[in-house]
């Protein structure tokens, strides 16, 4: 009960996005020469930037959308950022997005990491197990060109790792629920 009371006292901390842009979320620092698939490593000086987004195909699902996250070789920071989509600051459930532990219930395959040899067959099988219609999204600098060689990718987000807010934007765009 005390936790609930303290939570209420703290007030709403969930971002108002997508109703309005949330300026309280600090932007990522990128290397000035950074392209889509590079690390934001600041080797050549840094600049503040939003994580970049590219959406190639959309499916306007008229239902809750289930996401199967497949790590094929990440450093585990993308995993944490994805988990944080459930945190009170982002609360993706309010927007109709849910994680599923099995690809057979998934509408979106969210791939992270640079694929290791042993995870490539797992990635292919996970994709095959998904019902139609389905979308593939990659997140982070590692899940770049190598994934595109294996699957047709519908959306991608840069960053190392991409921030949860950037991933939320991609999910909303993929499902036709928000347009920048």
């Amino acid at each position: 009960m005390m936790w609930l009371a303290k939570g209420l006292k703290r007030g709403i901390i969930t971002t108002k996005f997508p109703k309005e842009e949330d300026k309280s979320i600090p932007k990522s620092l990128y290397d000035k020469d950074c392209e889509f698939f590079c690390f934001n490593s600041c080797m050549n000086g840094c600049e503040e930037r939003d994580d970049e987004i590219e959406v190639r195909r959309k499916i306007p699902f008229n239902k809750s959308v289930h996401i199967f996250v497949l790590d094929v070789g990440s450093c585990s920071s993308c995993n944490r950022e994805i988990s944080l989509l459930n945190s009170p600051q982002y609360d993706m459930h309010r927007l109709g997005f849910f994680f599923t532990p099995v690809p057979r219930h998934a509408d979106i395959l969210l791939v992270i990491g640079e694929p290791t040899e042993r995870m490539i067959p797992v990635l292919k099988e996970a994709y095959e197990q998904m019902p139609e219609p389905k979308l593939v999204m990659t997140a982070g600098a590692c899940a770049g060109e190598e994934i595109e060689k294996i699957l047709s990718v519908d959306a991608r987000v840069s960053g190392c790792p991409p921030q949860p807010i950037a991933m939320l934007k991609v999910l909303l765009m993929l499902t036709g629920r928000w347009n920048p």
Partner: protein
Amino acid sequence: MSEEFKDPMKINDTLIAIIPENNGYRFIWTNYENGEIKHTLWENMPEGFYERRPLARAFMNNYEIEAKDCGKVLTYGPAAGGLGEAGAFKIATCGERIDSLVPYLGFKKREMLNKAIGKEPWEALPYVERITGQFSISYASLFYALAFGIDCPDYLLFAKELERVHNHIWVMHKLAGDASQKVANMHLAAITEEFLRLNLKTLGHRYGMNFLRTGPRKYEKFHQELRELKKWFLEIAEELSDSRIFIDRLQTTCTLKKLDILRNDVVGIPARASGVLRDARKIGIFKEFYGDYSPPIESYGDSLSRFLIRVKEVEKSFEILENIKLKECKVKRNAKNDGFYEGIAEAPPGDIYMGVKIEKGRVREIIIRPPSLVMYHAFSVGIRGNVFTDFPFALDSFGAYFSDADAFGRWA
């Protein structure tokens, strides 16, 4: 680096790693009394060595598992939603009881460190930072200290403690979720997110991956935000420590006795939770940073003890962070002369060993013994005899990552 030809059965120090070589094996040891690191060579794996030093199985990827009586061996992972990472376990079970469990590693054997080889140390740094994102600062600061020397000590300590805090709170978040304490679970997730934003404002990256290149960033509200987060965290930790449901789920789960720790060369939080003081902050490369720091110790060795150690460590880290007065500081970028440099440093769950060979100004070899490899081994020892519902409480109490465990070895 001193090395001698000696039978590993006759050595009593803590085993850090075994690296296969052309004509045998290199055994790396440390002494947790004085911090001395020793290398010994031996032509084979002596008979009975796996029984004497069971952690050797982790280094040699030589785990064996057999089902007993009514039992079966099942593989859990590498894409199972519950694990959240590309890794797996082989589990021998008869009914609900876990008779035996071994880590099934190798799904995340990434090429990240191969990309660091042949580069100048400064250019290799971004790849070292990405061995495991959660411990990025620990890896980067150790690599930096070995290849360049220790520079901007206050800033290194500041970054290391920020990393410790967000990692420990994340582990607590997972444990609260496992125990269906969803309100606490969400509070801790929210604190983690606020901490990662604080990292970005002060270190230049949510996980500190740029921290040596960007240097300390001025953020006027740091102390104010830190105080608020500390208050928030302490309230939740206190409530959680009073929750009977939470305590019941963690108490006596995945217990490691003192003898288990010593026999299995376990280090870090599980060792200290069982009353064995093994902590690189006392003997490692950054020991000067911590002075007379006394790491929190518990004695029962169960998941609850590991949780309590984390709560106390977060409190201590908050104290350190509150008292650091950061000055502007740019780390030097000229690496040490050619040679082999090695050391141990503390990451949030346990100790990292790293060796770096520099030849003609370029990184030629990196040896890594990540803490998660030891954590998964410790988990496999403690979980025996527990039931399936204990699995998440046990696993999450170690705070290990497969990406970390699979970084083990010599990269050249």
